[in-house]
Point group: C2
Chain length 311, copies 2
């Protein structure tokens, strides 16, 4: 019988679970609630219970299973989480504890990094072992894959693309405590920030953005309609992001760059304009590196987590 494995993406409210064949075929997908009470003491036992129940329910035995991969919303260093605020966890050795609970091999990594691995395995970067993924959501996350493996970093900070310093003139503080981070200009909230600035700088020009709720989606919708103010905002965003990606590419020279997260739902107009700025800046060898949209959406985490236990 083919081997199977589990990919688990732990979030602050739900735990997304996937059962996979080791060739990457998704066999089943479900969610459980993340019970964060009492320091999140139930999170790993709940995962162990749902995995074992699913395994048995589908008629598999423990020896059919390659293991359980887990994505965690926080830094992970060699299987250990120092702290995960959204789960109410202090230090937790996820690989050891979940391994004890299930008797299976467990591998854990940071959720943004795991999503990058998922996109490299079966998503927008399928078939590429050297990849940059940037996730544009409420914040800006990311993951670096080299030689098919996550670059975890010595403090679990690998792939913290959102905290690259991209502007000396921003004085407002980022969540990280510094100012001028990519996250402040390229996340959904960052794009709204740029929009407010542009609308204040130019009070004359007509713009759809002067009415209704300002959001990254509204900005990209207006951009697609040819709105001049929206075009300025999107160009600023794309310049920041394209430059940051070019700077990462100069250092690790990846095979492909994948852009995901809610903001990426804007579609190919986003990769097109970011690509224009990227190519204008990128070191010659890296200029042709493709920039593509993520394909797995919210499933990137379960795919990447499953891949952690496969090789």
């Amino acid at each position: 019988m083919d081997k199977i494995c589990f990919g688990i993406d732990v979030g602050g409210t739900t735990v997304k679970c996937g059962m996979f064949r080791t060739d990457g075929t998704l066999l089943d997908k479900w969610e459980i609630t993340t019970r964060t009470e009492n320091g999140g003491e139930n999170v790993l036992p709940d995962i162990a219970a749902t995995v074992i129940s699913k395994l048995r329910g589908k008629g598999f035995k423990e020896e059919d299973c390659s293991g359980i991969g887990v994505g965690i919303p926080g830094p992970v260093m060699r299987g250990v989480v120092p702290v995960a605020v959204n789960l109410h966890w202090g230090e937790k050795n996820v690989e050891y504890e979940l391994g004890q609970l299930t008797g299976m091999k467990v591998r854990a990594a940071n959720d943004a990094n795991v999503a990058a691995l998922g996109e490299a395995w079966k998503g927008g970067g399928e078939g590429h072992d050297e990849l940059i993924m940037v996730t544009l959501g409420t914040g800006v996350g990311g993951g670096i894959i080299i030689n098919g493996k996550i670059v975890e970093g010595i403090h679990g900070a690998g792939g913290e693309i959102g905290h690259m310093h991209v502007d000396d003139h921003i004085t407002e503080l980022c969540n990280c405590g510094h100012s001028g981070c990519l996250e402040q200009v390229a996340s959904a909230t960052g794009i709204v920030r740029l929009a407010r600035e542009e609308l204040t700088l130019d009070k004359e020009t007509d713009s759809d953005l002067r009415t209704g709720e300002l959001s990254a989606k509204a900005v990209f919708d207006a951009y697609k309609e040819g709105d001049l103010i929206a075009s300025r905002i999107v160009n600023r965003f794309a310049r920041y992001l394209g430059t940051a990606l070019a700077n990462i590419a100069a250092v690790i020279d990846p095979d492909i760059i994948v852009i995901g997260g809610g903001v990426s739902r804007a579609g190919e107009c986003l990769t097109d304009i970011v690509g224009n700025y990227y190519r204008n800046i990128a070191f010659s060898s890296c200029q042709a590196t493709p920039i593509v949209l993520a394909r797995l959406g919210n499933d990137a985490g379960i795919y990447g987590a499953a891949k952690l236990v496969i090789d």
Copy 2:
């Protein structure tokens, strides 16, 4: 008998050669001339001849030798050099050709990357498997080590730190064809460029730099003497470099950062001031990452090359 190996650092005028025990002990070190005539056709045969002659001369046999590592001044992709201008080479499969000539295992990589591996093995970054090295010479080179291995990049451009974009206002072109590269403000020639700017901007303030030849060394010498203009120059340099290093650290989160090359002879005052700017910008998890001076000088290449054929 302990195994030995060879580390070869090929330059445009000389080939530096080292014979090592596989524990990293340097047994012998010598140089031969790089014969670049006729498309550099003699370079690899000359290396083969000197290696075999040294091996036999020291009483070793081929089976005592783990192999030959080679650093090349140009991009290297999986052992193949697409072009190496300084050697007058077009495409050359270094690993295959030198392997055929010697009957030994050969591994080749870019010289700046190899120097980084040398510093990670036996230099300023000894004992660290996750390292950024930046080499401040006529240009700015670099190498990234992850999991103890060079990040070569898909086009052989891994570690091209010098071509990170760090300034939108520079209009002069870099050798790479773009403008605003780190190399234009942090190499020896880049520091002279900053010095000329500062001396032109402020024609009043006394400075030792107004007499004698302008050089990166002169700037750092004056800086150590408390020269105000030199201090402005060094602070600008350090801000650019510290920011670039912080941005790389946010992405790969290394264990240590090593600064080498001629400019690094300025000593600890350089790592001190670059470290100040680095810590001011770096993502919190990476703020304490040490920034140290390279230790192997011109021998970094032979050490790193030797390491290519060990494990």
